[in-house]
């Protein structure tokens, strides 16, 4: 059964199309594995077992009659619990939404239903995709698939853990400051924050409108590309949605990176936020792989990370308060302490301060695009390997700098892939950043790296707890 659960979307799709794998068999294998092992990870907050069985059966019948309608036909997936699901509880992990049952699917959810996907359930998140990890919200925090004592990062925590653990080959998350890339990094999988506006956020509970991105997580970049083919595209119901041509992302995975120019943000990595020695070594080893594939590497300069963090977080705290102000005024006790601390001061941000931060974002985003125009992709770590799962002082949100947030400010596509493991067996991560709407190049580069290295051959080992 485990072997089926570790099939990628691409592999399972080929087997299903050839009549060698049944969607029902694959779905039951995933459901069995979740039932056996998810008590170790708490990666799901809601299972949709009966729906999954019905969708798998329907997919099997339809594929037998006319072949698959998409590479996701008959393939199990899950959704971060901020994606609206018609008739299925969508909580954002918050006591405020304990009984929230949407009447309509999100835009992305509709696309996956139309593609014939099989919904297994909803994944744990940080509360409203912002505050966490928390032990005083609706469900316990998810755990890292490689070592359950470590953090799966956030906020798409359960999404990252579920894919790495082999519970589902695909999931969708959201990324406002790193919330797809960080869980992908911590759990050793691939996760893409697409270009802002490329994937609709309609029906995704907001964190911060101006920086929110919806996007896919999967075991491989190839699978991320398959998912992007299904969910990218203009949506008139999302005011941030971009009307641009959508390429075939899977077809862009040629494996060829000859002539690619890779930029390294030298000041960030040498002065402002230097990586640990092992993380630096993993990055350098990855760059050697790319050189061997025909790419060149050179340093580039960007505005300070601190500038990007300050602009984004000033904007975000004001937008978050706007979204949650009524509840903060009337029932603040229902928020988890971590989220409440991170958003309550947004009510004190004055309009001028918000707009000045937005004007700064224009400048910082332009600076990002000017640098990106001189290279093909930027590379840097996504995060350090996962720390222990334990309460984090909430003020660290305001004081900690990251390697991820700048690309939410710029809106650029950014992919995290696994580039090795540390002495504890926890994944290292490589972040690949592209030009606006050039997500295809980012995916091509990530896929070429994965296929040139052995890191996709290793899976976490989970052992069920014995019950008395």
């Amino acid at each position: 059964m485990s072997e089926l659960c570790f099939l990628t979307i691409a592999e399972a799709s080929r087997l299903i199309a050839a009549g060698k794998l049944s969607p029902v068999e694959l779905t039951e294998a995933c459901l069995d594995r979740i039932a056996e092992l998810d008590h170790l990870l708490d990666s799901f907050v809601t299972l949709t077992t009966e729906r999954a069985r019905a969708e798998a059966k329907a997919a099997e019948t339809a594929i037998r009659a006319g072949g698959p309608v998409s590479p996701m036909h008959g393939i199990p997936y899950c959704l971060k619990d901020i994606y609206d699901t018609a008739g299925i509880r969508t909580t954002a992990m918050s006591r405020l939404l304990a009984d929230n049952i949407p009447t309509r699917d999100s835009f992305c959810g509709e696309k996956l239903v139309a593609a014939g996907g099989v919904l297994l359930g909803k994944n744990a998140t940080w509360e409203f995709a912002h505050g966490g990890p928390s032990w005083d919200v609706l469900f316990p925090p998810a755990r890292n698939a490689w070592n359950r004592d470590h953090s799966p990062a956030g906020s798409s925590s359960g999404s990252g853990a579920a894919v790495a653990a082999g519970f589902a080959p695909a999931t969708l998350g959201s990324d406002t400051g790193g919330s797809i890339r960080s869980p992908a990094a911590a759990n050793g999988i691939a996760g893409l924050k697409p270009t802002y506006g490329l994937v609709s956020r309609r029906g995704v509970i907001p964190n911060c409108f101006s920086h929110d991105h919806a996007g896919p997580l999967a075991w491989t970049t190839e699978d991320v590309a398959i998912l992007m083919n299904l969910i990218a595209g203009y949506d008139p119901e999302d005011p941030g949605s971009a009307s641009v041509p959508i390429p075939d992302y899977a077809a862009a995975l040629t494996g060829d990176v000859r002539g690619l120019v890779i930029g390294i943000p030298q000041t960030w990595l040498e002065e402002e936020l230097p990586p640990s020695a092992p993380t630096k070594a993993a990055l350098e080893a990855a760059l050697e792989v790319f050189k061997g594939l025909g790419a060149t590497v050179r340093p580039v300069k960007l505005p300070p990370l601190q500038d990007y963090d300050d602009a984004k977080k000033t904007i975000a705290v004001a937008e978050l308060f706007t979204i949650h102000g009524k509840d903060l005024r009337e029932r603040p006790e229902l928020f988890g302490a971590s989220l409440r601390y991170r958003i309550i001061a947004g009510g004190l941000v004055r309009a001028e301060e918000y707009v000045q931060a937005m004007r700064w974002r224009t400048e910082l985003a332009r600076a990002m695009q000017a640098t990106m125009a001189t290279i093909d992709v930027l590379m840097l770590p996504t995060n350090e390997p996962a720390a222990k799962l334990e309460p984090v002082a909430p003020e660290t949100l305001f004081t900690r700098r990251s390697w991820t947030t700048a690309f939410n400010v710029g809106g650029n596509p950014a992919l995290s892939v696994c580039n090795g493991f540390n002495d504890l067996g926890l994944p290292f991560s490589l972040q690949i950043v592209g030009k606006l709407f050039d997500d295809a190049t980012v995916l091509r580069v990530g896929d070429a790296y994965e296929k040139a290295t052995p890191w996709r051959d290793r899976r976490p080992v989970l052992v069920a707890k014995e019950t008395a």
Binding site: P239, R329, G346, E353, V355, T362, E395, F398
Partner: protein
């Protein structure tokens, strides 16, 4: 605005925001706001008058479907 907000300043801003919080939450608000204040103080403000923010209105987004 000063870098370190006073209690009186926070009380005033909280009142303007409609936040009538119990004392325990007020302490939380004061601590959080001090962090936010430090970020805001780093946002540059001396911009040319015509500098546009990143969220200007785009009417094309509001055309009826198909236009």
């Amino acid at each position: 605005m000063s870098t370190e907000p006073t209690k009186e300043e926070i009380v005033l801003l909280a009142r303007q925001a409609g936040l009538n919080l119990p004392e325990a939450y007020f302490e939380e608000l004061a601590s959080a706001y001090a962090n936010v204040r430090r970020m805001i103080d780093r946002v540059p403000t001396g911009r040319p008058r015509g500098d546009e923010p990143a969220h200007v209105f785009s009417p094309a987004k509001f055309l009826p479907a198909g236009k």
